[in-house]
Structures are given as structure tokens and as C-alpha cells.
Symmetry: C2
């Protein structure tokens, strides 16, 4: 009887974003709305989820949260939908991350040690610190407006094909 090493014991992660999927969906949705709701137009959840190929109801939940935190506005009823408010475009991406993923994300350790820091670092702390800080800085500096303008200028995209 030959042993064929058929299956791995541990299931490797099928998809592993740096942050949650909700965060990615949120960023893309806000950017999409910022791009399309000029002159007071409202964008329906339907339109956003279809355009971005993002699950309708799940995005609904995420949008709800963003509305509660004042990042974006919504209206019910016919002609309702989502639309930017005065501050939407000036929000920094880190604010969105804090809503979707919580603020914990930023102090996590690669090796899973609680309260890993420069004083008592894990063996990888210093190697990862600058990279992690780079990501955080990008999220702190970039605003919704910057994303929207980049997409508008054709420099980047919100969807695949």
C-alpha cells in the first residue's frame, strides 16, 4: 500500500489580503461614489456592487457603517442612494481602516507576540517595522480625493477589466 502524501494536514489560506476584504470593498466603493456622484447625483448600492463585482448585501453592511461614522451620506426612497458629503473626499484612508478593521491591526506582530515593540522586539520586528510604517504612512497621507483623482486620470483602476 503506497502512501501518496495525498493531502496537507493544514489548509493553507485561500486568499489572504493584508487587511480585511471589507476594507478593500469600502475603499473601492467610496472612490467609485466620489467619482460618479458629481452634481448631487445619488448612487445606488445596486450600481456600486454590480460595477465593482462586490457582494451586494455585504457591501450594504459596510456602507451602513461608513454612513454612521459620517464618512459618506445616504438617502432612502426612490432617487435615494449614497453620495459624498462636504468632508468625504478629505477623509484619510486610515479612518476607513479603523472602521472596517479596528485600530488593533496597526500594532500586530508578524510572529504573533503580544505587545511586541522596539524595546522587546521579536526577531523580525526591526525588519518589518519600516515596511509596516510605510503602509501606515500611506494610509495616513492618502485621502479619498487622491484615489478618485488617480483613477480619473487613468493612472489606476477599481476593477479588473
Amino acid at each position: 500500500m503506497t502512501c501518496t502524501f495525498a493531502k496537507a494536514r493544514l489548509q493553507a489560506r485561500t486568499f489572504a489580503p493584508m487587511f480585511s476584504k471589507a476594507f478593500g470593498y469600502a475603499l473601492r466603493a467610496i472612490t467609485y461614489i466620489a467619482l460618479h456622484c458629481e452634481d448631487g447625483k445619488r448612487i445606488s448600492l445596486q450600481e456600486v456592487s454590480e460595477h465593482l463585482a462586490v457582494p451586494h448585501h455585504f457591501l450594504g453592511k459596510i456602507m451602513q457603517d461608513l454612513v454612521h461614522h459620517g464618512i459618506i451620506d445616504s438617502a432612502k426612497g426612490p432617487t435615494g442612494g449614497f453620495f459624498v458629503n462636504a468632508r468625504t473626499c478629505d477623509y484619510h484612508l486610515i479612518e476607513v481602516l479603523k472602521i472596517t478593521d479596528g485600530s488593533q491591526v496597526l500594532n500586530s506582530c508578524v510572529m504573533g507576540i503580544r505587545h511586541c515593540n522596539a524595546e522587546r522586539p521579536c526577531p523580525l520586528h526591526h525588519d518589518f517595522a519600516s515596511c509596516k510604517n510605510g503602509m501606515i504612512r500611506a494610509l495616513e497621507e492618502k485621502t479619498v480625493r487622491m484615489l478618485a483623482e488617480d483613477v480619473k486620470a487613468g493612472g489606476s483602476f477599481l476593477i479588473r477589466e
Copy 2:
């Protein structure tokens, strides 16, 4: 009846490591064993899990995988346990990551776009690319030996307190 905004609609992630917990556990366990199994000694799962405060049985699963992939060796029976083989200390951390998290991790996009790349980037691609590459480079360059030597020299730690 006052509405008090009682609870968030979306549960924020309670703990969000950059990679999986399994990866962190694996790195710490291998390093611990490399440090303690000099002169052919074997380290029991019991000892590792207690020392690192890592769930016993879950670590067992992870170790099993590492053994299958030849990263570390094990022996059953009394005086059994885990021990480094000739190549253990020269393994690069990226190999461990590929076992615990799969190779997919490395091509994930912050905004959740499939096949996001420099030719058709998401609005954050360029900001994150260098940071992500820095992490990958660290995992490609660092070996188990380096981790162990750093801990041995007192420069870093595998546990909190």
C-alpha cells in the same frame, strides 16, 4: 425611546496579524527548537507549547506539516520529540510561510482586486509595493539560524515576559 448607537453593525477584527497565526507559531517553535536541541536533544511538543504559550494541539498540527515538508525532524516514543536536521537552520522564512499560508499571500492586493499589478494597478498599488516587497525580501533573506542567533545574543525574544 432614545437610540444610543449601541453597537457597530460590522464586527471589527479582534486580532489581525499580517500573516496567519500558524505562521507566527511555526516560526517561534522552529526557532525555539533550534535554540534548545543542541547535542542531539529532542524537544517535546509539550515543552514548546508551554514555553511559547501556544495551543498544544494546534501547534502539533503545524509541526506535523513542517516535518512532512522536511523543515524539521521528529521522533516518536519516549525520548522522542522534535529536533533540527542538517538543513533546518538554513531554511528561509519564506519557505515556512508558503507551508502555513500558501504562496497566494504574496500576490494579494490591499483593495482586493484580483491580479492587481504594475500594468493595471489599484490606486494604492505603488504606495504598497515597496513595503510589501520589503517584507518579502526580509522573509527571503532571513533564515532560521539568523532568528536563533539573534535570540541567543539577547537582541530579540520569542515570548512576552
